[in-house]
């Protein structure tokens, strides 16, 4: 990689501000042996700078209003929901089945991760007891923002058949904010996927 201006077969056009006005400078590019010599059309700087300024300021304004980048991140966020890999009760079996060959939740970019730090979605798939309640809250709090929660099945939604039991939390929304409820005892894997797709719709509508 030589730093010297190399000799070329063509004479280099010397340009000075005196000979030609600044806007009409013919453009010349130093070449290197073996590198094709390139010429491009003259740019008119007097028009270019205001136009660029205007475009930039409008971009910044849109960015400030959240019209530019936010939809992109919204699209990314809703299409890549990583649920936390944990099983509470019956629904966890259907949760696992949804990642099986027949339903394959990975089609929608849903990949379970074991560490709450890497998750966006807490799927409460089963009965929550008071003994595990504070661990559930801790897991939810360990997840970084933005995050969502789905109450999967009747137990997580409202206690289900164990609503009257002494040890069961009657609905996980008493502990954490829930975005989507999925009915069923347990919901079929299609229902779970439907719930996730509805959450995607919700994220899109909220424009987060």
């Amino acid at each position: 990689m030589s730093g010297q201006a190399p000799e070329t077969s063509k004479p280099l056009p010397r340009t000075t501000p005196d000979s030609t006005p600044a806007g009409d400078l013919p453009l010349a590019v130093v070449g290197q042996p073996g590198v094709p010599f390139v010429e491009i059309e003259t740019l008119r700087a007097r028009e270019f700078i205001p136009a660029a300024k205007e475009a930039l300021s409008s971009l910044l304004k849109e960015q400030a209003q959240g019209k530019l980048i936010r939809p992109v991140f919204n699209w990314a966020g809703r299409n890549s929901l990583f649920p936390l890999h944990w099983g509470l009760a019956c629904c966890a079996i259907e949760f696992a089945a949804a990642f099986g060959a027949r339903w394959d939740a990975e089609r929608f970019g849903v990949v379970p991760r074991s560490s709450p730090r890497q998750c966006d979605l807490l799927i409460v798939n089963g009965t929550v007891t008071w003994k595990v309640a504070h661990k559930l809250i801790a897991l939810y709090e360990q997840m970084p923002e933005p995050k969502w929660a789905i109450a999967m099945g009747n137990c997580a939604t409202g206690g289900g058949p164990f609503r009257t039991a002494y040890s069961v939390v009657p609905g996980v929304d008493k502990l954490i904010p829930v975005d989507v409820y999925i009915a069923g005892c347990p919901p079929r894997p299609e229902n779970m996927l439907d719930g996730i797709l509805r959450l995607e719709q919700l994220i899109k509508e909220r424009g987060e």
Binding site: W130, K131, A133, T164, A165, Y166, S167
Partner: protein, 158 residues
């Protein structure tokens, strides 16, 4: 060894402490015994009558008393036996079966947790299902099922 032989053998070993041997569906009989001889009876059943497995320990709250039952299995004779004893409701205490059958450990913890029967000599008699510090024994008849609206957050263990 049938029911009569068992009854005779046990009565000879523990005179006056075997309160009766009756039939029980699904098993080869139920032995009702006095809780004071529990430990010796267990050892005798394991060593002399080959009941090597302790399958289940449970307790029932009959309000005026509490019944503790044991389900035993003899591999040699391929049969079940039920032991049953009544404990006073105010002080339900019985000797632990853990020294004889280690498998009793979890069962007895469960019976203590849910029905409140104390097992003396148990190495680690803590609650197994409910968190430590829970105030009730939920399977007692006096513990009523609440509607969830009445249910307070009673439990926050650490």
């Amino acid at each position: 060894m049938d029911q009569e032989q068992l009854s005779a053998g046990l009565s000879a070993r523990f005179p006056g402490k075997i309160l009766g041997v009756d039939t029980f569906p699904g098993t080869n009989g139920r032995v009702r015994f006095d809780a004071t001889v529990a430990s010796d009876l267990f050892r005798s059943l394991r060593d002399d009558f080959h009941f090597t497995h302790l399958t289940m320990v449970g307790a029932t709250d009959w309000i005026d008393h509490r019944e503790v039952f044991y389900v035993l299995w003899s591999d040699a004779d391929r049969r079940y036996l039920i032991l049953s004893t009544d404990l006073p409701a105010e002080s339900p205490v019985i000797a632990s079966a853990v020294p004889i059958w280690p498998s009793a450990n979890a069962h007895e913890r469960e019976a203590w947790d849910l029905v409140g029967v104390k097992f003396e000599g148990h190495p680690d008699l803590r609650r197994i299902f409910m968190p430590e510090g829970y105030a009730y024994h939920p399977l007692l008849r006096s513990f009523k099922i609440h509607e969830p609206e009445d249910l307070e957050v009673k439990v926050r263990s650490d």
